[in-house]
Symmetry: C2
Subunit: 303 residues, 2 copies
């Protein structure tokens, strides 16, 4: 239970022998979401023994190849393995065209419902709002349209302790009232306070995925106090000019966003292929925001 992020690819435009292009599996209370799908994602899922068929939706940040070239392979393998469950893809426009032509020319018929939701807003937009979760797409600043995603669990209603239900044989409609904070009167007139009967509140968790972008201080309000922030840190500080030119962030800039947003933990990733070791990048980020960790293939981080 809880919110965890497993890194499947922490590289950037040019993959290396050790770092795959961007892909991350987010687990929100056993609901699985794929964040970006660089080349090799299906193999990375297998290597890490993660079940691809449990993914209910895929979020593509933008249409640079290192964020989606693995999608066609994943979709067709899901099909070959007999998927029937619907799959929803949140993406900037254009991706459907790319997938459709490949399905057509390879003679592939997808046997599950493949749905697209196209991102086009210039301001933050709620793209998922169900019983348990809100997902907000946040426009970022990259060379092409690009979106971050903010996952926010809804506060869970407190559950009633089983022993009270059993002891007083409390009817269902009364349980609902107790959950809303109403005390309970037993048939013989005894008053039992709801606070006594309810289990402790579980803190609703939140997670933000911000890649690829120039640092954007305006997003700190939306993601403020979030439990876990993944922010790209393609470059170290001495390549700040290059970061600006290519619309990326440095490790220090990522840490500044984490600090300004008062997040609990920062994961940095999307590292340029030029870095064999990440010590320098981590030291730089930690100089601004101490609770920083570096993304690494196959590692899982908990919110």
């Amino acid at each position: 239970m809880g919110v965890t992020l497993t890194v499947l690819g922490c590289g950037s435009a040019i993959p290396t022998s050790k770092r795959n292009p961007s892909a991350h599996l987010l687990n929100v209370n056993e609901r699985f979401f794929l964040l970006d799908c660089g080349e090799g994602t299906q193999m990375q899922l297998r290597r890490n023994k993660l079940k691809m068929q449990r993914i209910e939706s895929i979020f593509i940040s933008h249409l640079h190849g290192d964020h989606f070239f693995g999608l066609i392979g994943l979709l067709t393998t899901m099909n070959l393995l007999g998927r029937t469950k619907e799959l929803l893809i949140y993406t900037p426009a254009g991706l459907k065209e790319i997938i459709d032509i490949q399905l057509k020319l390879t003679g592939t018929v997808i046997n599950y419902k493949l749905q697209y939701c196209f991102l086009q807003n210039n301001s933050p937009e709620e793209i998922v709002n169900d019983e348990k979760l809100i997902v907000t797409a946040i426009p970022l600043k990259h060379r092409i349209p690009c979106y971050g995603f903010f996952f926010s669990e809804k506060e869970k209603q407190q559950n009633i302790k089983k022993e009270y239900v059993e002891k007083y044989k409390i009817p269902y409609e009364e349980i609902l009232k107790i959950k809303l904070g109403q005390d309970y009167a037993t048939p013989d007139g005894k008053i039992i306070s709801s606070s006594q009967m309810l289990l402790p509140v579980t803190h609703a968790k939140s997670f933000a995925y911000i890649t690829d972008t120039l640092p954007l201080p305006e997003i700190t309000e939306i993601i403020s106090n979030t439990d876990l922030l993944y922010h790209e840190a393609t470059f170290s500080e001495n390549l700040k000019e290059r970061a600006i030119k290519t619309f990326h962030s440095t490790a220090i800039q990522a840490a500044e966003i984490a600090k300004a947003a008062n997040v609990k933990k920062l994961i940095i990733g999307h590292f340029s292929a030029r870095y064999k070791l990440l010590d320098e990048i981590l030291i730089e980020a930690k100089s601004v925001f101490e609770n920083t960790v570096v993304a690494a293939e196959g590692e899982t981080f908990t919110a």
Copy 2:
């Protein structure tokens, strides 16, 4: 020097954590050719420390995803790494459309000359014929148009031993005649036979790449006596019916082709994901053709 094949992917439609989809690097006397380009090929090239920029052409057998989904990633990485050298792709029609739409929608401009040669013949066709090499495309029998490739080195002209050139100061035009088999008369009338002066003949090597297909006895004539044959062996014999249904070969059928063609060595590959171990498949093939080896990620086989 010589002819070697490095296996980058020996899996089939569904990759596993151990087997990538089809990709092979062929080295013909330091000229590099990529045979198929399944998802993850660029990472496999890097892991095996093979230089992608040295590839002069790519041969795509057919447009099933496990044979080309890695192409767009490889082409764009070659570009990011500054390739200027022309790249030629031999492929059934349709692939250019798939690559072009992805280049367009990702805003990528390829800075090297990317050329396509579309395969469409229903009979074997010489698609390369240069100073040193002939490549023949061989139509196979799969669910969609599919081609095998037969690489045949041209017989090399015998070189003259250096010591004779130095000792007798033989002029360049006379050397050419000696190479063609003419004896040499020294200025003082001594006759030296060409056979004495020439180095031993190096046997011109040949290699055939046959995947995906039903077994085709009619190809044995073209590939007869070849040094090294790669033939798909997706299934073991007990799944022969499934092999027929899906237009694939069994290990025994691959070995029968090798035997009928009197090849020197057979590599079997393109294994179904259902096989964790390949012992059974290898034993079956060896029962028909002893000099059989199984393809394995990163292994290099010499003709």
